[in-house]
């Protein structure tokens, strides 16, 4: 039966807590979002905000503490590893560091074809080699590199291998965890263009996890900004950049160093302090200690995400005053 809507991934109230000697660490604390087919959701935030943990929970590489993950209409939250195995072909991941995520003792052919063997997608050596070469062409790797090892290649090419490997199983969803952060700008642009082209050609859906707001603006349809395990603002990309409402989002945007020299260049406003500990959080706004607009209401309870204009969600007790 055809699905009534176009949603590929739905995450509802996702929570992941870790037990630490000091108490419960709230890595992801009630995150919800949906991603439509062929679209990109950007998940943005600083180190420790829980964006990577959320990504790993979606793929069930980590078992969520609570919440629901609905992939292509199926609730996969409590799927066993065996049941997940079938779905692995449909959801893949691209990692940040293309060096440590590739097996140094495998050559390009082995790395890219391993998932094909593993899932018995194609049989026969010849056929698999043909498919590998096809994948290499798709991601722009010269066929002569098929017998080289990762250490012989530069970062850009290594990341292309990671992408080819993720594409090998023809997935619907790819979780990209900082895929270009380790690359030089000129190579970064090549990889971003490639990923964008692949999305168009294969109808891929991306969840794009990054701390780099300029990359996310270029790449995403919707953006969710995370702070200490929670989404504090969520909106279509253009709307978020033009009309940020949460004080944290505003500060985050203002912190990007702009590569321009001009008299009317906006002055940056610094955020004070640093991210607080995600362990044993009190029931108050998690950003209040660093916020310029802190007041009594911020300490009453942890504000919920509310829709302030169509598709624009903000979790801030004082948001009406900023509109």
């Amino acid at each position: 039966m055809e699905k009534p809507n176009n949603v590929l991934l739905e995450v509802q109230d996702l929570k992941k807590y870790f037990d630490t000697p000091k108490g419960k660490l709230h890595a992801v604390d009630g995150v919800s979002f949906t991603v439509e087919r062929g679209k990109t959701l950007g998940l943005v935030g600083e180190s420790g905000c829980g964006k990577s943990t959320a990504g790993r929970c979606i793929l069930k590489l980590l078992q969520p503490t609570a919440g629901r993950i609905i992939f292509d209409g199926e609730d996969i939250t409590n799927y066993s590893n065996r049941k997940m195995r079938r779905l692995r072909t449909e959801m893949q991941m691209i990692f940040q560091d293309p060096f440590s995520s590739l097996n140094p003792r495998q050559n390009v052919m082995q790395i890219i074809s391993e998932p094909i063997y593993e899932h018995k997608l194609i049989r026969g050596r010849k056929e698999i080699e043909k498919r590998t070469l096809e994948l290499m062409e798709t991601v722009g790797l010269a066929s002569r590199l098929i017998n080289t090892y990762p250490h012989e290649l530069d970062g850009g090419r290594r990341q292309r291998i990671g992408i080819a490997r993720a594409l090998a199983l023809k997935p619907k969803l790819i979780i990209c965890d900082e895929p270009v952060s380790a690359l030089d700008v000129s190579i970064q642009a090549q990889i971003l263009n490639l990923m964008k082209r692949l999305q168009k050609d294969f109808g891929l859906t991306y969840v794009f996890i990054t701390h780099d707001l300029s990359v996310v603006k270029y790449f995403s349809d919707d953006i969710a900004v995370m702070y200490l395990g929670q989404v504090v603002e969520k909106a279509p990309a253009d709307e978020l950049f033009e009309n940020p409402l949460h004080p944290y989002t505003k500060k985050l945007l203002s912190a990007i160093p702009l590569p321009i020299v001009a008299k009317d260049k906006p002055k940056r406003s610094l955020i004070k302090g640093e991210i607080t500990s995600p362990i044993n959080l009190p029931d108050e706004c998690r950003f209040n200690k660093r916020c310029d607009f802190r007041s009594e209401v911020c300490l009453e309870r942890n504000p919920e995400l509310q829709e302030v204009s169509p598709n624009h969600f903000v979790a801030c007790a004082r948001v009406q005053e900023f509109m």
Partner: protein
């Protein structure tokens, strides 16, 4: 004494390995005046860090060899100094901060002791005075002096980088070299550290060489910019000249690769291909194989850094008076 804090003249540095000779730095000239912040921008493998290590005379040897050139720091050629004298120069005249603040700090010493240690190596006899100086420096970089008994693991990444800056500035160096000082930090923390660097530059009158791949960071902090490619400086000028009147095709390519200058969803314009192999540099301009403006002359000889209009550029296309980059037309 000259007005300039640093003058690098015709510096050539090679790494001689079993596989061949890596031409890391190929005849560069750099001048940093008093209180100036010079940004050295380029991609991985451009020779930025080797240049910095040469100033400290710390190029790992073997395999690194400073083939020729001179580095005049505060009137003295550091390449001619005996090792003992060089140790005095490091810390007193020039100090360096590194990218990763965790590996730069000693994990089993308190941060106060680490700052005090550097003060004592450079002449302070009394441990008590050195520790006082350490507490003073911590306050300067925005850490409460009461935390001087903390160990590095008790601090966040941003605070660790503040400690590294405190150590570097404890002896009032005339030149501070910062090699990707904020690359490992989050944007909001990066903004704080850049602000601190600017403030300290004003307060202590320190000149600075800031190495980064991030043009945004350059625009924020620097007075002058030198763009490096394959071991050579291809463009140099004031911040405004390089950003608003870009001359070299490589610099233009760097700007075009940045996502935030383009409209959303539009295709980025990356520089095609990759950096040449530093063991096997092309005969002419090293950027020619990737350059959209290449003509035959470009591949014949290495272009010299020459003044074109407002500032310096190494590109033979400007022999044609009518040549303009697309960015400028």
């Amino acid at each position: 004494m000259t007005e300039n804090i640093l003058e690098i003249r015709d510096l050539v540095v090679h790494y001689e390995t079993d596989e061949g000779c890596v031409q890391a730095v190929n005849n560069i000239n750099v001048i940093i005046g008093k209180k100036t912040i010079l940004g050295l921008v380029g991609e991985t493998g451009a020779g930025k860090t080797t240049t910095a290590l040469s100033i400290l005379n710390l190029v790992p040897n073997p395999p690194g060899i400073i083939k020729s050139g001179s580095i005049i720091l505060n009137g003295v050629d550091v390449l001619k100094l005996p090792p003992k004298k060089m140790e005095e120069v490091r810390g007193n005249d020039v100090a360096m901060i590194f990218q990763d603040p965790m590996t730069a700090l000693n994990p089993v010493m308190t941060i106060g002791e680490q700052i005090a240690e550097s003060v004592m190596i450079h002449g302070e006899r009394s441990k008590e005075k050195a520790l006082n100086r350490a507490r003073e420096m911590l306050e300067q970089v925005g850490i409460p002096a009461s935390r001087s008994g903390d160990y590095p693991h008790q601090l966040s990444g941003g605070m660790r980088q503040r400690v590294v800056i405190a150590i570097a500035l404890a002896c009032n160096p005339k030149l501070l070299i910062a090699d990707e000082p904020t690359t490992a930090l989050d944007v909001t923390i990066q903004a704080q550290i850049l602000e601190l660097i600017k403030e300290l530059n004003r307060k202590f009158d320190t000149s600075m060489l800031l190495i980064t791949h991030d043009l945004g960071v350059i625009a924020d902090v620097c007075d002058r910019v030198a763009v490096m490619y394959a071991g050579r400086i291809v463009e140099e000028g004031t911040l405004e000249e390089v950003f608003n009147d870009t001359l070299h095709p490589y610099t233009e390519g760097l700007f075009n690769s940045l996502p935030n200058l383009r409209k959303r969803g539009e295709e980025l314009v990356p520089i095609k291909g990759m950096m040449p192999d530093p063991m096997n540099l092309p005969k002419g301009c090293a950027f020619a194989p990737r350059c959209p403006y290449t003509i035959d002359e470009c591949t014949e000889a290495v272009p010299e850094l020459k003044k074109i209009g407002s500032h310096l550029v190494a590109c033979r296309r400007y022999e044609d008076k009518n040549f303009r980059l697309r960015r400028n037309s």
